[in-house]
């Protein structure tokens, strides 16, 4: 029996439940180890006049204080555009931007040093909002567009047109383990950096470049992360390099572990967007033309913003065929910490904007929003080409819609909701379906490559290391399953090793949901190469003149821990014994596999191409209850149906789906980033930044997988599952909007994301009719 598709526990589950799994800050302190911290800019925008560390130097236990002048390499980096400084040189562009790195023996010494460092700055005028950035034409990158047909001519003739602006807020990744790295110095100016990162190779590249080393002098190792969600794709780097700097300068191990408050204040988040739209449709709600102008708030540096914007644009079709469409996009430059990857990578923002438009159309036409969704949904044989020209093959969205509407009793419940709203004086209900069509692959072509190293040892056990990193998503478990399956050996015989740039070089980040796809495929390539050599040897070994068995590789079978020639299956040898024989015959028992995703390409200058290998699809129906007086929101029930192909591990995939949904729900409801007028993040810890709690999980929660065995383009016919389910959470927001639409007496509803209790109450306030005129007060 194959191990693929089995529900086996997470690779580290036992370590997790016993507390024995080791995270960065759990590694024992070396005797001479230093703690690394930094002092950042007190202004969101300011000119650095002077830095005086002389008092701090005198503090006992302070071993080093470093400014940009101490960097031996180039103080400039960035994953796409190199516009970021590790340490401020002349101008600070966001609050908390690091200026001085401190190395100390104790936290107390560091706390004193922070107070003793004198930084003089001239405050410059900051820009925080998209409006302000647009006014000043402060952008990152060039304008982007995806265009098909001619929206303008449709707008001229269309009977029904809606225009508006839609705003979504950012979202903190809120991985529980804050950014963490330890750097160990070695001989010859080498460094081994242990980092909680999704992108070890980037740390190697950036550390080498900033610290003036060669890339072959730096190794980055990632055992696991206590959550990443995109926040450790490009932004683990800064702190890893700071640790590296200290280790290199002092020749002592150096540990940089942020506390939650600092982490939240200085690292980037999901991008806020502010979008203008204009949509034309017929009386049935069929969209004839859509124009959207997406503006994202990129923060102070490019980071991954241009790619994120691109994905937002590529997902502005949501699940709908748009015959005439114009999608424009710009990244605004502001004085917030550079915004960065977060599960979905712009996809949620693009989709959400369009889902809001659908709700608007429904409200305007006084129709059920689902009807609008269904008639606009991509077709199977026609109406199946995306705005960027990619054909959607095996489109299962219509089927998913129909099946979910049925299984969730949508129609009856919609009636019940309307009935409830017509009588309740205290509460409101809403129900809504929202879809997911998430494109899988990096839209940057070169990132679509993976590598894996597979080594077999002489007791038949196997080690595998890939370029992918484990952040809880279960990548390692799946890789183990894939390798065990390739050799048909027990899952327990395969061990997955910490990710290390020494084993796999120039790796891509574990991102874009592609972890299993590219690294699992690379592992398959490696296994197959070894299997091929073993088969070659086995063919020779099992061939026998007497039995009439000629040497034939194609007859060699790996099955249930044994190897045999299928013409003489009784003459089988255990895998573990056979590898010893092979070794003695000098057959190589190790291989590095390399994989490149076939056929993906996208031209961002023309906005055309096939950026995606396939799509992960799904939909969710959510029903909400709102307290009209306090705005308190409760999700009563959610039903999810998602197509993730043939799951490699259903338990893990279910966890991804539910975790993603709840995270998406948090983004659109309670998670609110609040800054003061100086750009200081007020909601910088869980006391003030509220991610979903266990009590927010819908009491009724049905999660099902849609059967789909057509995805032959991907490893084991599976589909990527990391990011797509986050978009399912949008159904909660559209349900809120639906609830409000039931009582708005036809007025348009101004509701942004997140729909906090305040946002909801203020929205109700806008269309509330005061039932009784207030008379002259009697006091």
């Amino acid at each position: 029996m194959s191990i693929i598709g089995k529900n086996i526990p997470h690779d580290s589950a036992i370590g997790h439940v016993t507390g024995e799994s080791v995270f960065i800050d759990d590694m024992p302190f070396a005797k001479n180890e230093l703690i690394v911290d930094f002092v950042g800019s007190p202004y969101a925008h300011g000119e650095l006049i002077s830095v005086d560390t002389s008092e701090a130097e005198k503090i006992e236990g302070i071993i080093g204080l470093y400014t940009y002048k101490d960097l031996d390499g180039i103080n400039k980096f960035g994953p796409i555009i190199q516009d970021e400084h590790l340490l401020v040189e002349h101008t600070a562009t966001f609050m908390g931007e690091p200026i001085v790195v401190i190395a100390g023996e104790t936290r107390q010494a560091i706390a004193k040093a922070k107070k003793a460092i004198k930084i003089v700055m001239k405050e410059l005028e900051p820009v925080f909002t998209i409006d302000e950035a647009i006014k000043r034409e402060q952008y990152i990158g060039v304008p982007r567009f995806i265009i098909r047909g001619d929206v303008q001519s449709v707008f001229k003739t269309s009977e029904h047109i809606l225009e508006g602006t839609f705003i979504n807020g950012g979202q903190e990744q809120f991985y529980l383990e804050s950014q963490a790295s330890i750097a160990y110095p070695g001989e010859d100016n080498t460094l081994v950096i242990h980092s909680s990162t999704q992108h070890p190779s980037e740390i190697v590249q950036v550390a080498a470049s900033i610290l003036g080393l060669q890339q072959n002098q730096v190794i980055c190792i990632t055992k696991r992360m206590g959550g990443g969600f995109g926040g450790k794709e490009s932004q683990a780097c800064h702190f890893a390099v700071m640790a590296g700097l200290v280790a290199l300068k002092t020749k002592r191990p150096a540990r940089a572990v942020l506390n939650k408050d600092t982490d939240m204040m200085v690292t980037g988040k999901r991008h806020p967007f502010q979008n203008n739209y204009k949509v034309a449709f017929d009386k049935n709600g069929m969209i004839t033309a859509l124009k959207v102008d997406l503006f994202s708030n990129g923060g102070a540096a490019a980071d991954l913003s241009t790619s994120i914007l691109e994905r937002a644009m590529l997902h502005s079709d949501s699940a709908y065929y748009l015959p005439n469409v114009e999608i424009n996009g710009r990244v605004c430059k502001t004085n917030l910490p550079p915004n960065t990857a977060f599960r979905g990578f712009g996809g949620p923002q693009g989709t959400l904007n369009t889902e809001n438009i659908i709700e608007e159309i429904a409200h305007y036409l006084k129709k059920d929003a689902y009807e609008i969704r269904r008639i606009n949904c991509y077709g199977v044989n026609d109406r199946n080409i995306t705005p960027y020209g990619q054909i959607i093959h095996n489109n299962v969205l219509p089927e998913i819609f129909d099946e979910l509407i049925y299984s969730s009793d949508y129609t009856e419940r919609l009636e019940a909701v309307k009935e409830f709203n017509s009588v309740s004086k205290t509460h409101l209900k809403g129900i809504s379906l929202s879809p997911v069509k998430f494109g899988i692959s990096f839209t940057t072509k070169f990132l679509n490559q993976g590598s894996a190293l597979v080594n077999i040892y002489l007791d038949g056990t196997v080690q595998v290391s890939t370029g992918g990193t484990e952040m809880g998503q279960g990548l390692n478990t799946k890789i183990r399953q894939i390798v065990a399956d390739e050799f048909s050996i027990d899952y327990e015989t395969v061990r997955i090793m910490a990710t290390s740039t020494e084993k796999n070089n120039n790796t891509s980040p574990t991102a874009a949901s592609s972890g299993t796809d590219i690294n699992g495929s690379a592992a398959v390539v490696a296994c197959q190469a070894i299997r091929d050599r073993l088969s070659e040897f086995a063919a020779q070994y099992f061939s026998s003149f007497e039995n009439g068995i000629t040497k034939a590789k194609e007859h060699i079978v790996f099955k249930d821990n044994y190897i045999f020639d299928n013409r003489l299956p009784d003459n089988k040898i255990a895998f573990k014994d056979f590898v010893v024989l092979a070794y003695r015959e000098r057959v190589s028992l190790g291989e590095r596999g390399f994989y490149q995703t076939p056929g993906v390409d996208f031209n961002r200058d023309t906005g055309k191409g096939n950026p995606f290998l396939y799509f992960t699809n799904g939909a969710a129906v959510s029903e909400v209850l709102i307290d009209k007086f306090t705005g308190e929101l409760k999700v009563l029930r959610s039903d999810i149906l998602i197509d993730i192909g043939e799951s490699i591990n259903v338990g893990i995939d279910r966890g991804q789906v539910i975790g993603g949904f709840i995270q998406g729900m948090g983004w659109v409801t309670g998670e609110e980033l609040k800054y003061n007028e100086k750009g200081y993040l007020l909601s910088h810890s869980p006391t003030t930044y509220k991610i979903p709690n266990i009590t927010d999980v819908p009491d009724i929660f049905n999660v099902n997988f849609f059967k789909n065995d057509t995805n032959i383009v991907n490893v084991k016919k599976s589909k990527a599952v990391g990011e797509p389910p986050l978009l399912l959470g949008i159904s909660v927001w559209t349900a809120v909007k639906h609830a409000l639409s039931c009582v708005s007496s036809g007025k348009r509803i101004n509701l942004s994301v997140p729909a906090t209790n305040e946002e909801i109450i203020m929205a109700i306030d806008q269309f509330e009719e005061i039932p009784i005129k207030i008379k002259v007060l009697e006091y």
Partner: protein, 481 residues
């Protein structure tokens, strides 16, 4: 001070541990992680809000160890005298997974694993009282633990799927008698620890406490430490002299006496729950939304009012009930009506030698209707944007008298005197309530902050009046039917 000792005695996972000097001033989580290399206990927020650092706290009560979960990040070692702490490292059974751990493994209760030890500890402690948990139990019991990966569903499933036949109580895992004997022996001896920078005193009687307070101006009294622990961790406070009230037995009483519920200063919010559910159901509901199980197991009612925050959840209730605050000083006790206790933002009517010893809350009368509201961004485990309390004497639809208190609308919790005046003697109608809402709006002075804008709070104050009205109406209808 006569006889005292200079150490803290506690047990950790069944091992006797004596703490002295500087170590006494460390947080429990730092002590575990950095002194003992027991790194299963994780730190995320250091402010009691995420539960990753959850440990079990066994306290001697009536000659038994009573095990409850607490947040180790905001517990300081000096608070732990006479306790048995069990960490995630102490949960295995003979080197094997306990049934809770097994279920978490099987049901994918862990993804990245960073929150997991906290959940496992909290869930294991839940099985001290029950051997089968429902979805509701788990939501009530685990809302002090955050997880960003799983979406919680698999954790709930794990909790419901625990093999009850394999459950083992803490008293079975850790033979209690020796621990109890040891802890009892030292219980009556006050503690005094002094380092070059800090002083800690734990008296066993009220009088010494008052005397010590009088002698040490600016001293910090620590009760459950859920406010103080956060303030220390976040650099808002660095107390040099600390006095714990935890060894003063007379402060631990809770009982009904002469038409009052009397609550001692050391009674935790969890301990109040049972009384509240019988005496003031509305207050019980508010307690359920107060912090988390971990916070309620440590935090006290007296700490809540002494902290003086205008968004303290219990205060509006105490205001409308005219609760009496008992202050004990060197020269005896005095009673202050809570309505007169606050002099301004976080400023109390409390003399140098005084500590709060008790709160007495009048019992509800038959014709009184009590309604309490807490509005916050997230329902569970969130600090309030606005709080409100209504106590109404009603007679056939007529408001004989009403008391209304709001929190989060000014520097202290306030009584809405004008609104009350307006409503007194009127009928409870929508029209009257809408007018009252307008008056209420004018009586308050909210500000904008991270938990809500001024406009939102103004709107809420009107809305809460309406909510009160409609809820009363609905109850009437139910009674009529």
């Amino acid at each position: 001070m006569s006889k005292s000792r200079d150490y803290i005695l506690l047990y950790i996972n069944g091992k006797k541990t004596k703490i002295k000097d500087d170590l006494a001033f460390k947080s429990l989580s730092d002590f575990l992680r950095y002194e003992k290399q027991m790194v299963g206990t994780k730190i995320v927020c250091s402010e009691g809000d995420c539960g990753s650092c959850t440990v079990v706290h066994g306290k001697l009560e009536n000659d038994k160890l009573n095990y409850k979960i607490v947040n180790s990040c905001i517990k300081y070692m000096y608070q732990l005298d006479g306790t048995h702490i069990i960490t995630v490292e102490g949960l295995k059974l003979n080197g094997c997974l306990n049934p809770i751990q097994e279920s978490m493994v099987k049901n994918h209760g862990a993804q990245c694993g960073f929150c997991t030890p906290g959940f496992v500890v909290a869930m294991t402690a839940m099985f001290e009282d029950k051997n089968k948990l429902t979805q509701k139990d788990l939501k009530d019991g685990l809302n002090g633990n955050l997880c960003r990966c799983t979406g919680y569903e698999s954790i709930i499933k794990s909790g419901m799927d625990v093999d009850a036949s394999k459950l083992t109580y803490f008293d079975q895992m850790y033979e209690p008698q020796q621990i109890i004997d040891d802890l009892k022996e030292i219980k009556q001896i006050p503690i005094f620890i002094e380092t070059s920078e800090k002083k800690f005193f734990s008296p066993v009687d009220l009088k010494s406490a008052c005397e010590f307070k009088a002698l040490n101006q600016g001293l910090t009294i620590i009760s459950g430490g859920t406010d103080i622990g956060v303030q220390i961790n976040k650099g808002m406070r660095d107390p040099n002299t600390i006095m714990s009230t935890s060894a003063i037995d007379s402060l631990k009483e809770i009982s009904v006496k002469d038409e009052y519920l009397v609550i001692g200063a050391r009674v935790t919010l969890s301990q109040i729950e049972a009384f509240a559910s019988e005496l003031y159901p509305a207050f019980y509901d508010i307690l359920k939304w107060f912090g988390s199980p971990q916070i309620r197991n440590s935090g006290t009612l007296v700490g809540n009012i002494a902290n003086g925050s205008p968004i303290a959840d219990t205060t509006p209730f105490l205001f409308v009930m005219n609760a009496q605050v008992e202050l004990s000083g060197i020269n005896g006790v005095r009673q202050v009506n809570i309505n007169d206790f606050y002099k301004g933002y976080k400023s109390l009517d409390l003399n140098n030698d005084e500590i709060i010893s008790k709160i007495s809350i009048p019992l509800l009368k038959d014709n009184q209707k009590l309604k309490l509201y807490k509005v916050s961004k997230r329902k569970d485990m969130d600090i309030s944007t606005l709080t409100a309390a209504f106590l109404m004497d009603e007679n056939q639809g007529k408001i004989e008298s009403i008391k209304i208190a709001f929190g989060g609308v000014g520097p202290t919790v306030i009584r809405l005197k004008k609104t009350e005046e307006f409503l007194n003697g009127k009928y409870l109608t929508e029209e009257n309530i809408l007018q009252a809402g307008q008056i209420a709006r004018d009586e308050i002075t909210p500000i904008s902050d991270v938990r809500g804008s001024k406009d939102f709070r103004l709107k809420l104050s009107e809305n809460i009046m309406k909510k009160f009205y409609f809820e009363c109406l609905e109850e009437e209808q139910v009674i009529c039917q």
